[in-house]
């Protein structure tokens, strides 16, 4: 077993033995949650041997669950996890919450709202902080999902932190994306704006027990009809009251993996990888200081970063 003292050294950049990563993966495949959990920690901390061990994962289906803050993503994720589990699927959930840009710390509170899946020992739930990522998704999220697939999870739910209209990152990671909206989220113009709505495979108006839900669904449907995505289903759900969840699960099960978006996925993955490379570049801090002191322009800084590091 890999002791926490070892993991803490790994977190500050001291590599873990390749054999340790392989034995963690093997134990995870044999059902050890502890080993899976420790492997995920290594992956998130950027340990390259751990990341290498989870390449070529077996088939699984991942669903990104995204939407603005406060629309009920956590409760809906909870209900979906239970529903898939009841259908005999092995479900894992990654719940993402932001890290503080000031302290680097994070308060991961999704479990407060996950009453059903939290009590279901068949479901693996992991809270993930965004750490040093610039956007709303933590680095190495794909590798974490791959580790879950290796451990036998065939349904992986990824709940993002609350996002705005322009954050598309989840599209690059999950096979399908569920956009959650709430009632009274604004008029039809909001729904017609470009962005995440165009990329969603399913749209849910949650809190359908509240006034305005029907109208919101109708606005979203007209918004979608004007665009190319007229076949995207818009469903009314009340996760709290369990209304509409069964229909939603059916709809998700019937989604067909699409090939047409794959080049865009690769584009987003490339950009994410580029961002990670820049953030782990040793010259970054110095460049930031020189930018602040007015020694270099942004253009010059970018040019310098694009040069090989030892040049």
């Amino acid at each position: 077993m890999v002791h926490h003292a070892v993991l803490e050294r790994a977190a500050i950049g001291v590599g873990v033995d390749r054999l340790d990563s392989i034995s963690l993966l093997n134990e995870a495949k044999n059902g050890s949650r502890r080993s899976l959990a420790r492997l995920l920690s290594l992956i998130q901390s950027g340990d390259t041997t751990a990341i290498d061990t989870v390449q070529n994962p077996p088939a699984s289906r991942s669903l990104g669950i995204t939407g603005p803050p406060g629309v009920g993503k956590s409760v809906l994720t909870d209900r979906l996890a239970s529903a898939f589990s009841d259908r005999g699927q092995r479900v894992a959930v990654l719940c993402i919450d932001p890290s503080s840009p000031v302290s680097g710390g994070s308060l991961l509170g999704d479990r407060m709202r996950m009453e059903e899946s939290g009590a279901d020992e068949r479901i693996y739930v992991r809270s993930v902080a965004t750490r040093d990522a610039v956007g709303s998704l933590p680095f190495r999220l794909s590798a974490m999902a791959d580790a879950l697939a290796h451990a036998g999870h065939d349904r992986i739910l990824i709940e993002t932190a609350g996002v705005g209209q322009t954050e598309l990152g989840i599209v690059s990671i999950a096979d399908h994306v569920l956009l959650v909206e709430g009632p009274e989220r604004g008029d039809i113009v909001q729904a017609e704006k470009a962005g995440i709505l165009e990329m969603a495979d399913v749209v849910v108006v949650n809190k359908s027990d509240l006034p305005g839900a029907e109208q919101a669904a109708s606005d979203l449907r007209s918004g979608l009809e004007f665009g190319r995505a007229s076949t995207v289903p818009v469903l009314l759900v009340s996760a709290l009251n369990h209304t509409g969840v069964v229909d939603l699960v059916e709809t998700i099960e019937n989604l067909i993996p699409s090939d047409t978006v794959s080049s865009m996925r690769w584009r987003l993955r490339l950009l994410e990888s580029l961002q990670q490379t820049v953030l782990s570049d040793n010259r970054l801090e110095d460049l930031v200081r020189r930018l602040g002191d007015g020694e270099v322009s942004l253009q010059q800084a970018v040019q310098e970063l694009l040069q090989p590091e030892d040049a």
Binding site: R33, R34, S99, G105, R111
Partner: protein, 148 residues
């Protein structure tokens, strides 16, 4: 600083979580990743959460008087799950007379109402130091070390 993953848990039936939330917030502001369980978790659920989240520390909060049963039960289940390297601390209304039994069960720190949050942070710093030099401090690592 070592960033720790810490579960802050409310075992049992009491619904008072202001103390737990104050501690969770202080730990977050000190740069740690804090997983808050929400109210009314069973010892079994808490141990599964610690395991799934790969937390190396768990803080238990109880104000109902049930700590004498619940805290040792969590310790016992952690050991059974092979999580003896996890460090357990507790808070809430814990009378002095009850503390020796909790220490005996493996609880390494007990922080009552009014404890400055700095004391919890310095406890965690000591944990990190002890781990780094191989001194026992986990719930299943028999040791007389405690801070409370």
């Amino acid at each position: 600083m070592t960033r720790l993953r810490i579960v802050v848990a409310k075992p049992g039936l009491d619904g008072h979580d202001r103390g737990a939330k104050v501690v969770a917030r202080a730990l977050r502001d000190a740069g740690h990743e804090v997983i808050y369980t929400g109210l009314r978790r069973t010892p079994e659920e808490i141990v599964r959460i610690v395991e799934d989240e790969d937390a190396s520390i768990v803080g238990l909060s109880s104000l109902s008087g049930a700590h004498a049963f619940l805290f040792p039960r969590v310790c016992e289940l952690l050991n059974e799950a092979g999580l003896g390297d996890v460090v357990v601390f507790g808070g809430g209304i814990i009378p002095q007379a009850d503390r020796p039994a909790l220490h005996e069960a493996g609880v390494r720190g007990i922080f009552g109402p009014g404890t400055p949050t700095d004391e919890v942070l310095s406890f965690l710093e000591e944990v990190v130091e002890r781990r780094a030099n191989g001194s026992p401090c986990g719930v299943g690592e028999g040791s007389d070390w405690r801070r409370s």
